[in-house]
């Protein structure tokens, strides 16, 4: 058993150095995008077919880690494109002054208007509480109903996770001045707060909680990949906060044309059709064939909530304060 494993490891080490003569486009993105199970491998293949270049991904943690990494590298970064920041991080990303304007007029299929000049969305989704139909027969219809119920939930920490931050802004956007009150009422529903999405979702699947903070699209994974229709997202009448994932071109890129070509490719059929069943999010531009079978079973929120990037950046510190105060009691 051991030798083949060693051999596989050595092979993998050896193949990383391959001679290059084509131009290299470096795309920095979050880790799960480049994983063997994410969109990365398929996107690389599809783009290299049309670009006569070598597309190289660099992975770094998640969206927030990506921004921290970019700040550390600054203008010396070898990356040409950064892909995977979300709308809540956009203002901070833009403030670094590292991004160039994209100059692309795109026809997007988002529930909200998009006119940012530096960043282009590649996918989006709604945050939602996901539950198991077998254990929760009568899901709450609002955050308030959830807080009033005896249901147990797992959420992610806003200080270490992007969905966690999303929930802060969701409550803030939906309840405004009532947010501190709502958090206090939610406190006894929260089983625990995890470092990231994976831990929270793992706890939920193991039955440690009735609901987990995730996305409206999460049940699609279970349905399409596992043939399991027991998972569902609860639709809340006050609306659902959106996560829009974006990409931008770095001003210091040494391959600006290739970077432009990649951004245009990102909004094309070839890229967008990969997204739904690898990243389990909605594509920013609807593919010709529509969404994969199974997505039609997902809930469609009555109202899409989202703060413009600047406002999201301004509100998050106060929202964090509220959250900490309510849950530290």
């Amino acid at each position: 058993m051991k030798q083949p494993i060693l051999f596989a490891g050595l092979m993998a080490l050896a193949t990383s150095a391959v001679a290059q003569d084509r131009p290299v486009l470096t795309v920095m993105t979050y880790d799960s995008f480049v994983s063997d199970w994410g969109p990365g491998p398929a996107v690389e293949k599809a783009f290299e077919k049309v670009c006569d270049c070598d597309l190289q991904f660099v992975g770094a943690g998640d969206g927030a880690a990506l921004l921290a990494r970019l700040r550390l590298e600054g203008a010396r970064s070898e990356a040409d494109v950064v892909l995977g920041l979300d709308s809540n991080l956009m203002a901070a990303a833009s403030d670094t002054g590292l991004f160039a304007e994209h100059g692309i007029k795109a026809q997007l299929d988002l529930p909200v208007a998009w006119n940012d000049t530096q960043f282009l969305p590649f996918d989006w989704g709604y945050f939602a509480f996901v539950y198991d139909r077998k254990t929760v027969s009568d899901p709450p219809k609002s955050m308030q109903e959830l807080a009033d119920s005896g249901l147990k939930i797992v959420i992610e920490d806003p200080r270490s996770s992007t969905p966690g931050l999303g929930l802060l802004l969701w409550v803030d956007a939906a309840y405004g001045d009532g947010a501190p009150m709502l958090w206090q009422e939610l406190a006894d529903n929260i089983v625990t707060v995890t470092k990231g999405w994976s831990e929270a979702y793992g706890l939920f699947l193991d039955g440690e909680a009735d609901m987990v903070l995730s996305y409206t699209t999460s049940p699609a994974y279970h349905l399409i990949a596992e043939g399991d229709d027991s998972k569902a997202a609860a639709a809340f009448e006050e609306g659902h906060y959106m996560q829009i994932e974006v990409a931008g071109k770095l001003a210091a890129s040494d391959q600006p044309e290739l970077a432009d070509q990649f951004l245009r490719f990102m909004l094309s059929e070839a890229f967008q059709s990969i997204i739904p069943t690898t990243n389990w999010m909605y594509p920013a531009v609807m593919p010709e064939g529509g969404l994969p079978e199974g997505f039609e079973t997902l809930i469609t929120p009555a109202k899409a909530l989202i703060y413009p990037p600047q406002e999201a950046a301004q509100r998050r510190d106060g929202a964090l304060e509220t959250w900490l105060n309510a849950l530290s009691r």
């Binding site: 051991k2 494993i5 060693l6 596989a8 490891g9 092979m11 993998a12 080490l13 990383s16 880790d31 799960s32 994983s35 063997d36 199970w37 994410g38 990365g40 991904f57 660099v58 992975g59 770094a60 943690g61 927030a64 880690a65 921004l67 990494r69 550390l72 010396r76 901070a92 147990k152 920490d157 806003p158 200080r159 270490s160 931050l165 406190a187 929260i190 089983v191 625990t192 707060v193 995890t194 470092k195 999405w197 994976s198 831990e199 979702y201 793992g202 706890l203 699947l205 193991d206 039955g207 440690e208 279970h222 990949a225 690898t278 389990w280 964090l320 959250w323 900490l324 849950l327 530290s328």
Partner: protein, 523 residues
């Protein structure tokens, strides 16, 4: 021992090793601090985090060490089928990636776990695990085995002649405890307590998963927040410094508390215990070993059970990652053993001088280091010169080795001291110095501690996510990183399979080294 004049030059390799540790820990911290735009400031929330951190670490370390004493005593004086296997398995909780161990623990103690199920049959409500007690439970699960192993090691090092003499003098178990065992415990307990205390200070994923909310905020999480939420490098560096300061203070207190043994020499013969033959002692030992075994093995069994279905469908990327992890672990082991042995020898050479204390304290720094700070510091230093992603695997091996160093040192320093005490004079009188002394006197007697240290280093490296998460190139993932990627893409069953593979490989490496060290050793 002052008459045995040892030239300081012999301590140079150890001093060099210590310098490397300082560069990686304090150096990386300095790199982060220098990049900061403004100096960090301590906020009220950070004080709360500090209090919680210290409190839970204190409780966790106290309970782990207290419980470990009777378990180690039982293991030291009993022989039973499966004892060796049990001792090897004791290493397991410690080396598992946190997320795997936490899910294993919850399968037993969680709302939907075994214990809650049993309570449910009697109409009782499920266990409430989330909160301070959950954090402490998890930390005891991780560290009780480590404490047991450290204490067991010292127990087995009491020369058999002393028990023989005690039996001749008609000592009962209480006399043996007073004359032989308590002094040994005073020697080993402060060190074991201290190591676990510092581990618990820096482990934040456990606190976060089981703490039940922001009440359970640790300094490490505050560092995370400074990095990711605020991108305030000054604050991250300040918090990391506080973490170091706590660790250094604890290390100094430990050095002061510790009462080194003044044991006489023995002849390395197997230990036989005449004092512990009574039925009550047998029963007590059986109960302690049984309870500890159940507490540690039940969550492990759950990890195995839930991993089995996924094991059949392990994909090629996971196997390749496993291969990379084994290579990284082996490299890391060689480094860790080399560094720790040279430091242990230097500490022994310099014993009595202030420098020895400095070296020993430096050896502990690495546990207090935040992987996030080390990784970021390395990145800041390396980035202008070379693409850090190209060095991801060697860097991971190096950082993992330094992370394992405190544990290896904890094992080797007392062992080297003991050997020198017992055989140093004889070796001196034979004018054995340098390599021949190492080869003929020290190494044969250090086999068992070296094997244990190497096993621990290998297993820790296998299970550690380490710095690779910060700059792994695609296609260069290690097994723990691949496990997280599987989970991040909803593939929980495959992740459980990967976790089982990881558990198997870690334990396998640990067993190989540990067993190698114990071969031909009758005790």
């Amino acid at each position: 021992m002052a008459e045995r004049a040892q030239p300081v030059t012999r301590a140079w390799p150890g001093i060099g090793a210590a310098a490397l540790v300082v560069a990686l820990t304090l150096g990386s911290l300095a790199a982060v601090a220098l990049r900061a735009e403004s100096p960090g400031r301590f906020a009220a929330a950070d004080w709360a985090a500090l209090r919680f951190t210290l409190w839970q670490a204190l409780l966790s370390a106290l309970i782990s060490v207290t419980l470990a004493v009777p378990v180690a005593r039982g293991l030291a004086r009993r022989r039973f089928a499966g004892r060796g296997l049990l001792i090897s398995l004791l290493g397991a909780p410690f080396i598992l990636p946190t997320i795997v161990a936490v899910l294993g623990l919850l399968a037993v103690f969680g709302r939907n776990g075994l214990i809650s199920d049993v309570l449910g049959w009697f109409g009782l409500p499920p266990v409430q695990i989330y909160g301070l007690h959950g954090v402490v439970l998890a930390h005891v699960f991780f560290n009780l085995p480590l404490a047991t192993r450290l204490i067991l090691q010292a127990w087995l090092a009491i020369p058999s002649e002393q028990f023989r003499l005690a039996a001749t003098l008609g000592f009962d178990a209480r006399d043996v405890a007073r004359v032989l065992e308590r002094p040994m415990l005073r020697d080993v307990l402060p060190g074991a307590f201290m190591v676990i205390f510092v581990i618990c200070i820096t482990s934040f994923a456990v606190a976060l998963a089981l703490g039940g909310g922001p009440k359970a905020t640790t300094i490490e999480l505050a560092i995370y927040q400074a990095f990711r939420f605020e991108f305030d490098l000054g604050k991250a560096a300040l918090l990391a410094l506080v973490q170091f300061a706590i660790c250094a203070a604890a290390a100094l207190a430990m050095l002061r508390l510790r009462v080194p043994l003044a044991h006489t020499a023995g002849l390395d013969r197997p230990v036989q215990r005449w004092d512990a033959a009574g039925g009550r002692q047998r029963a007590a030992d059986a109960v302690w070993i049984g309870l500890a075994g159940a507490f540690l093995l039940a969550p492990l069994s759950m990890i195995v059970l839930r991993g089995l279905p996924g094991l059949a469908s392990l994909s090629a990327p996971v196997i390749a990652a496993a291969g990379r992890s084994v290579l990284v672990a082996l490299g890391s082991t060689v480094l860790a053993v080399g560094l720790s042995l040279s430091m242990a020898l230097a500490i022994e050479t310099l014993r009595g001088r202030r420098l020895a204390g400095v070296l020993e304290t430096v050896g502990y720094l690495a546990i207090a280091a935040s992987p996030l700070v080390i990784g970021t510091g390395l990145f800041i230093v390396l980035f202008p010169m070379v693409d850090p992603t190209r060095l991801a695997l060697p860097l991971t091996a190096l950082v993992n080795a330094v992370m394992a160093l405190p544990f290896a040192l904890r094992i080797l320093v007392p062992a080297v001291a003991r050997t020198e005490r017992q055989f140093g004079r004889l070796a001196d009188s034979l004018a054995l110095t340098g390599w021949p002394r190492l080869r003929h006197v020290l190494l044969p007697r250090l086999r068992r501690p070296l094997g244990f240290a190497a096993g621990l280093a290998a297993a820790m490296s296998m299970g550690d996510l380490g710095v690779i998460a910060l700059f792994a190139a695609p296609g260069e993932a290690t097994l723990p990183l691949q496990l997280y990627r599987l989970m991040a893409t909803y593939r929980m069953e495959a992740a459980a399979g990967a976790a089982l593979l990881l558990l198997g490989l870690s334990l396998g490496l640990f067993w190989l080294f540990d067993r190698g060290g114990r071969m031909n050793a009758a005790t």
